[in-house]
Amino acid sequence: MTRSHASDAPLPEGAFPPTEAMLSEPVPSALAEAQADRLRAVWATPKGWRYWSAVNNSEVGVWYALTALAFMLCAGVLALLMRVQLAVPDNDFLSADRFNQFFTMHGSAMMFLFAVPMFEAISIILLPALLGARDLPFPRLSAYGYWCFLIGGVFVMGSILFDAAPKSGWFMYPPLATQDEGLGSDIWLLGLSFIEVASIAAAVELIVGVLKCRPPGMRVNLMPLYAWYVLVVGGMILFAFPPLIAGDLLFEMERGFDWPFFDPERGGDPLLWQHLFWIFGHPEVYIIFLPSIALAAMIVPTAARQPIVGYSWIVLSAVGTGFLSFGLWVHHMFTTGLPALSLGFFSAASEAVVIPTGIQLFAFVATLMVGRVKMILPMLWIAGGLAVFTAGGLTGVMVAIAPFDWQVHDTYFIVPTCITRSLAAWSFRSSRGSITSIPSSPRRPCPSGWGAGPSGCCSPAST
């Protein structure tokens, strides 16, 4: 492989790239073999029961994905049971208490045990391959995050078997949740703290991975768009989860030590939790969504057989979406009686995210217009994802108008808005899953030249 076509990249100094003379110098075959064996031994997957001590991203990523999938199936079963209860009026299939446990756990599991971990799982699997690295920078941190996630998830999910699951809604609004008798709220707080730790670990891992594990010559402005999205999402996790963790701490201090942060009778305020929760909750929407559109950003140019059009537009709008998403949380609180001026501001800010989202969608369309499209299978998923996403997005535009939200807030209008968007996110992701092989194995640097990185040369479908 020659690097000559990456002409505009500055050549590294020193003995890199090795001269022809250096390369043609013969290596004793026995030595070469021994070296290769040693290397393979270091990277080999542990055998037997030691398998569970593996830290390589290829193992941890797969565990992560399968575990998240298992939690998703549990949450899906809960949803089906709820639908059975709701199928006919005055049904007594589930008691009120159990129904409330189920709906709380369904929401919590889909948000915290599936949507975010699944992004982390896929990124842990794919990112090293896209960057031509052997692994992420801190393999043990990935493994640590995974085990945290598993412990926290099983703890929260398992509580449902003991009829002790949280039952105050996945948003856990005080005073209902703080005054809840029983262990439910504490289980939620403790279990999700594990998951918050796991998310932050994964975010650190992925950010450092993107910044530090790029191959020589792949500058940030050349890296695959997927890496950009991962970088943005990692940054968002770092800023979005701390408010939630802070809220959790206050919440547990109120429950454990009777410090009345949310108790209005003793000077606290229930709205404090809502602010903390939604400062996390809204960026969460994009933490779920951006990784999915990131995959679309890799597949579209592959299908169009053209480098993406508007690379910097897309990067800027990804960063812009991440930034703006921290200024929208009040649209989840339009009905709490905040002053009209704030509502107007947050309405406008919420509509403003349409612009970066629109730029990304139209950049994909533009790429398809420029290229000669080959309708590969993932493109069908993308078309489906787009249909669902635009429906969710357009209803999102409606509910961002504060007075309209007064009517539809907390109704079945919101449920599809939220779920279609997540579904869209998921079908974008499935688009990746439907690719049958992942040729650029995590163990091998990407074979083609890095200069073409942004064009998605490393997206598996291109090979």
């Binding site: 008691s95 009120a96 208490d97 409330n100 105050s168 609004y173 005073p175 209902l176 005054q179 209005p264 009778e265 305020d269 229930p270 709205l271 299908a303 059009v309 508007g310 537009w313 709008s317 009905t335 709490t336 009686g337 009209a340 107007g344 309405s347 406008a348 509509e351 403003a352 349409v354 612009i355 629109g358 730029i359 969608l361 139209f362 950049a363 369309v365 533009a366 790429t367 217009m369 420029v370 290229g371 499209v373 309708m375 078309a383 787009l386 249909a387 429906a391 357009l394 209803t395 535009v397 409606m398 108008i401 504060a402 007075p403 309209f404 939200d405 007064w406 009517q407 807030h409 907390d410």
Partner: protein
């Protein structure tokens, strides 16, 4: 294909429209605010359908139909036009309209004020006519005069609730420790149904109420009657009521019953529904409610009186019904 999509959307709207009637629908609007918001929704819906079809149509076109290359310059124009100009124009217009109706929807009311408190899982309703000495206390039903904007103050007992009568206008949360406010301007007399719209525990779904809109004159007469003390009948029903200690939780003005834990029952018999909008105001329903409220409304804060005999329950229910 495009026609197929459009037909599908049409069908979807029609099938959805089946559920668009009844007293709790935003589409049976009888309030100025709800009517205005329906207009906003209709416009947004049409816009959204057009945009959805164009966007997905465009995607279909560029992946399936179009042949030949387009220049990169033109492609960048697509990004700027579709990603920036289009949303800026559409959203500015939408925001200008949408936000301009907000002040009207929350304009202060004139004359009468109503204070509603969300309890678990019922509504305390207090009418504060202009210049009156004290509030007229009622529960689980809201009556409003048509053609006038009425100020509504919202409070909450132990947990957060949200007050919402879809046919009249948008919702506002009731938050412990705060007083939030809203206002409603009903235009068409009739009965609308409201529902608590913030998850508030075991029986959240069973926390509803009827909002009865009356002509101005009818309303004034009704309020005068509501303000008067009860005219309870003598008899066995009354004796059971006081023997069982119902008065510790319920108030019946004009009798010694002065409890404030549960709903005021002074003019209970003239309400249009029982137990916060979930049961018809009928003898059988009332009997089963008193016998075991928790069986109908899980975790209801009213004890069961299952030890009362059938005839006792019947007498008691009959006596309550006569409280008009």
């Amino acid at each position: 294909m495009r026609r197929g999509q459009r037909a599908a959307v049409g069908l979807l709207i029609l099938s959805g429209a089946g559920g668009c009637h009844g007293p709790q629908s935003v589409f049976s609007a009888g309030g100025a605010d709800a009517i205005e918001l329906n207009r906003l929704f209709a416009v947004m819906l049409v816009g959204a359908v057009i945009l959805w079809i164009s966007l997905n149509g465009l995607f279909f076109h560029v992946t399936r139909r179009r042949t030949g290359h387009m220049s990169r310059k033109l492609a960048e124009a697509v990004i700027i036009g579709g990603g920036i100009l289009l949303p800026v124009v559409v959203l500015t217009a939408l925001l200008a309209w949408g936000l301009s109706i907000m002040p009207d929807q929350r304009a202060p009311g004139e004359g009468l004020r109503v204070r509603i408190t969300g309890e678990e899982w019922w509504w305390r309703v207090e009418y504060l006519p202009e210049g009156a000495a004290g509030p007229v206390i009622s529960a689980n039903e809201l009556r409003l005069p048509a053609g006038r904007r009425t100020e509504i103050e919202l409070q909450a007992g132990r947990v957060i609730h949200s007050f919402w009568v879809p046919g009249l206008g948008g919702k506002t949360d009731m938050i412990p420790g705060r007083t939030t406010r809203m206002s409603l301007e009903p235009v068409t007399p009739g009965t609308y149904r409201g529902q608590c719209a913030e998850f508030c525990g075991a029986s959240h779904a069973l926390m509803a109420l009827n909002a009865v809109v009356l002509e101005e004159g009818d309303f004034a007469r009704w309020l005068e009657a509501e303000a008067a003390p009860a005219r309870p009948e003598e008899g066995e029903g009354r004796a059971i009521f006081f023997r069982e200690g119902c008065g510790a939780c319920h108030t019946i003005r004009g009798t010694p019953a002065a409890g404030a834990v549960g709903p005021d029952l002074t003019h209970f018999g003239s309400r249009t529904s029982l137990a916060a909008g979930i049961l018809p105001m009928e003898r059988a329903a009332l009997v089963s409610w008193i016998a075991n409220a928790g069986a109908i409304k899980p975790e209801a804060q009213m004890p069961a009186f299952a030890h009362l005999s059938k005839t006792e329950l019947d007498r008691l229910a009959g006596w309550l019904e006569a409280l008009e």
